[in-house]
């Protein structure tokens, strides 16, 4: 990766930055407002994917492969997180027959 491919340079870096930040903010808003555990989970994945996209863009613009290697690590870790997370959600569904997080209010101040 010695030089920046022509295709990437046709879109300015700021656009990638704004696009990824928007995706990330959509993810955050989703986590804060939705009440279904699975949808919250999908919003978290959206945040991670915004990060991946931005990493790739920075990496391409800097002609530095490190950023793209980081993306592989994020994907692998996100897969591990999905396994554990879905297992926890299934466990809750078995006990409560619901994945709405408002039901979960046993632990309170």
């Amino acid at each position: 990766m010695n030089e920046i491919p022509e295709v990437i340079r046709t879109i300015p870096l700021q656009y990638y930055l704004f696009f990824s930040s928007t995706l990330f903010v959509i993810g955050i808003i989703g986590v804060l407002t939705r009440r279904n555990a699975i949808i919250i989970f999908m919003c978290i994945e959206l945040m991670l994917n915004a990060v991946n996209l931005l990493l790739t863009a920075f990496s391409a613009y800097r002609s530095d492969a490190n950023g793209q290697v980081f993306v592989f690590f994020i994907m692998a870790v996100a897969a591990a997180e999905v396994c554990v997370g879905l297992a926890i959600i299934v466990m809750i569904y078995r006990n409560l027959r619901s994945t709405d997080i408002n039901i979960l209010s046993n632990l309170k101040w």
């Binding site: 990060v51 994020i74 870790v77 926890i88 466990m91 632990l107």
Partner: protein
């Protein structure tokens, strides 16, 4: 590095041993494994090695903190006796997850590259999500697992966004290279917002993991729902490793850009101390009080992080060791008592001084250490932190912290009052030999740290 390899292979080996019919052999074996790791880890003292393209550096800092987390795990294990007695079928899995999560803790204290910090945090956290929800039939444990998982992965997303923005501003993931770029750029108007935002998001992400206010709100709920045995592990190992990683990031990468983050961290420290201590006063459940107490101790550790001189490494090390030992002792006793009296409130300890003098004495000493009474390790932990902060002219923060420590006496002493001044609320509690040995060892260690703090106070 050897300790990482050993922990991973022992973890896998332990899963195979789990197939055997008798569960009795597992706990002694895991203790043996951890003892081997502890010794092998210390052998590398004064011998700095780097691995994976300089992404991991095993230096004295990493070895010392690895020693603390491995020792803490050794001390936590004896309290799993009830799982052994009940022939719990997932016993080997629990212990393997503890071993694997220690790998993450070691990576968090030895990283030189943000990639390793991220992978370390995730290895530790993902094991903890499973263990928090490990009591599958218990709704509280389910809820703790889900809350911890959702909050934790949310924090991971924020941390990652911060790391990416830092990468965008500096073009590297190596913390030492970020340092030179950050110092050079802190005056450059063009890229500085990117770096500033990156630092802010990274701070938020790590604060979530070590439960520093205002990102602490998951802590009481998750700790209360988690089985006590795993709570003892979570509130000590995760905190010690998290703070070591946090300190390393701030001191190596962002020492030059101190004016950006210093006011933010000061404000977070004040809020953490206030919420942790005042929140703990209002609790009736001992377990929930310990969760708030862990928030307040995060506040004291933040003071060491802020003071930011050659003493603060040692102060963090000493404080985490003293805090971990006392917390494990307190939560271990809570587990023993709560298993038999089926109660996690202060009332569970009523009259313990008469029925179980040993448990009550150990509990009283660990409460004194957590509160910071002289002759115990916790006193010197606080003293080192305050003296490190004094060099940084943070006198008003020290005064606030001492006031908050005085508030701490109130809720720590409620347990002592319940143990010695109330009528017994139940029968004598049965304690296994291994657990009493561990409790006595922790008491001795607390006194050793409190009488001869010089043994540990200058090793880094």
């Amino acid at each position: 590095m050897n300790s990482i390899i050993l922990l991973t292979s022992f973890g896998i080996l332990n899963l195979f041993i789990g197939f055997s019919k008798s569960k009795k052999i597992i706990m002694p074996l895991v203790l043996l494994f951890l003892a081997i790791v502890f010794v092998v880890n210390l052998i590398g003292w004064n011998d700095t090695q780097t691995y994976f393209e300089r992404m991991l550096t095993i230096d004295n800092f990493a070895i010392a903190f690895t020693g603390v987390v491995v020792l803490t795990t050794i001390l936590v294990l004896p309290f799993a006796q009830r799982y052994v007695d009940q022939q719990d079928e997932s016993l080997a899995e629990y212990f393997s997850l503890l071993l694997f999560s220690l790998v993450g803790a070691i990576m968090m204290v030895a990283y030189e590259n943000l990639l390793m910090l991220f992978v370390g945090i995730e290895i530790l956290s993902i094991s903890m999500y499973v263990l928090a929800g490990s009591d599958k039939k218990n709704l509280k444990s389910n809820e703790a697992g889900l809350k911890y998982f959702l909050m934790g992965s949310f924090a991971t997303g924020i941390l990652l966004f911060g790391i990416v923005l830092i990468y965008g501003a500096t073009g590297t993931f190596y913390i030492s290279e970020i340092s030179s770029a950050a110092t050079a750029q802190s005056n450059n108007e063009l890229t500085s917002p990117l770096l500033g935002m990156g630092l802010l998001f990274t701070l938020i992400g790590i604060s979530f993991k070590v439960s520093v206010a205002p990102f602490h709100f998951w802590t009481p709920d998750v700790y209360e729902g988690t089985p006590t045995f795993f709570m003892a592990f979570m509130s000590t190992v995760v905190k010690a490793a998290g703070f070591a990683g946090f300190y390393k990031l701030m001191s190596v990468s962002f020492a030059g850009a101190q004016d950006i983050w210093f006011p933010t961290l000061i404000a977070m420290t004040v809020v953490t101390l206030a919420i942790g201590n005042i929140g703990a006063v209002a609790q009736n459940s001992f377990k929930r009080m310990m969760a708030y107490s862990s928030i307040s101790h995060a506040g004291y550790l933040m003071i060491a992080l802020l003071s930011f001189n050659d003493r603060s490494e040692n102060a963090i090390l000493f404080y985490s060791l003293a805090y971990s030992v006392s917390t494990v002792a307190a939560l271990g006793i809570l587990k023993i008592v709560a298993d038999q009296r089926d109660d996690v409130s202060y009332n569970a300890f009523n009259g313990l001084g008469r029925t179980n003098p040993l448990l009550a004495a150990v509990m009283a000493i660990s409460m004194c250490s957590l509160g910071g009474i002289p002759l115990t390790g916790g006193f010197f932990g606080k003293l080192f932190i305050f003296s490190a902060a004094l060099e940084q002219d943070l006198l008003w923060l020290i005064i606030l912290a001492i006031l908050m420590a005085a508030v701490g006496f109130y809720y720590y002493f409620r347990v002592i009052i319940a143990m010695y001044m109330r009528e017994p609320s139940g029968e004598r509690v049965q304690v296994s030999a291994l657990a009493s040995f561990a409790l006595i060892f922790m008491t001795v260690l607390t006194f050793v740290l409190g009488i001869a703090p010089g043994l540990l106070s200058n090793i880094l």
